[in-house]
């Protein structure tokens, strides 16, 4: 980190360059040390958690749920009846004991998910939330101006489509099941899952249509 050289010169150490910790870094290191000294945490577990959430859990999980719902009517019904159980059945279990609800987009209703209070999010199927999901403008405007928010994401819905906004909590998280794009008859589950973006499962995008590569 470059230092103010006139200051360093005053002290006669023009090339002395020591380390510096910002307050947040120092506080986190302090907390980790105190908890580790008390045996309350296992420092090795922290890396495992980060590895899990950065590389192993992500929106590919949710995309597989959506693709299966598109191709398997029994599974789609199970998802409607008890999404927590149906999604656990695919091996995607939440670690916070939360319940999941699947909300299905139709020509009449478009669903969109927010957490107005903080950042509750279906981690087990979507990984960690993007920064915009956690931002104050999204949390406020998803409720007050959902159509404007969708426009900012490049989504324009037909006039007759209503927007339902679901407010997540620590106990209940929502997964949007986007509408299956046209022209995907005969697609395999893997091919279909490739059309399902993270944002389409939050409700700020639509599933991708294969013909043009653009959002439908």
């Amino acid at each position: 980190m470059p230092h103010d050289h006139s200051h360093d010169d005053l002290h006669g150490h023009p090339h002395d360059d020591h380390s510096h910790l910002d307050d947040e870094t120092a506080r986190v290191m302090a907390l980790e040390k105190l908890l580790a000294d008390k045996g309350l945490i296992d420092p090795g577990a922290l890396d495992v958690i980060l590895d899990t959430y950065e590389t192993r859990v992500g929106p590919r999980n949710g995309a597989r749920v959506v693709a299966r719902a598109w191709t398997d009517p029994d599974f789609a019904q199970a998802l409607r009846d008890d999404a927590t159980a149906a999604i656990h059945g695919m091996g995607f279990a939440g670690r916070q004991g939360e319940h999941l609800t699947a909300v299905f987009n139709t020509p009449q209703d478009h669903n969109m998910v927010v957490c107005t209070l903080c950042s509750c999010y279906p981690w087990s199927v979507l990984g960690l939330p993007p920064t915009w999901y956690k931002s104050a403008p999204y949390r406020a405007r998803a409720v007050s101006d959902p159509r404007g928010v969708l426009a900012e994401f490049g989504v324009t819905l037909p006039e007759g489509t209503a927007i339902r906004v679901w407010d997540s909590t620590a106990e209940m998280r929502y997964l949007v099941i986007p509408m299956r794009p046209e022209g995907t008859e005969g697609f395999s589950e893997d091919q279909l899952a490739d059309l399902v973006s993270r944002d389409s499962m939050i409700g700020t995008a639509l599933a991708t249509t294969p013909a043009t590569g653009e959002a439908a």
Partner: protein, 122 residues
Amino acid sequence: MSDARLPIPGPDAGDLHFFAPWQAKAFALTVHLHEKGAFSWTEWAEALSERIGSDRPAPDAQSPQAHAEAYWRDWLDALLGLVQVKGLAEAALIEEAARTWQRAAEATPHGTPIAYEAGLEH
């Protein structure tokens, strides 16, 4: 809550969740403490909501980095508050240990690992 006209930061910001190592560490500590049974996730969400809903101004900048930093600072404050409430670590001791880490850093040449002991006052 913020001005309703504020633009949403970076819809195309991609999959970057953490913009500094301390943010990732604060996240992992929270998940780990929860998994160890230190608090319920509902208790955590309440603590975080309280911080995020407090009167701290929303960042003026629209960059994802600025928003992420404000968010993770709230997250860290919520975590420090909750460990205090739960009697896991006292705020005064955390602040003292943080200052010790900072003194240790000041006493350590750049590029050398920082030892906690180097910051202890004699």
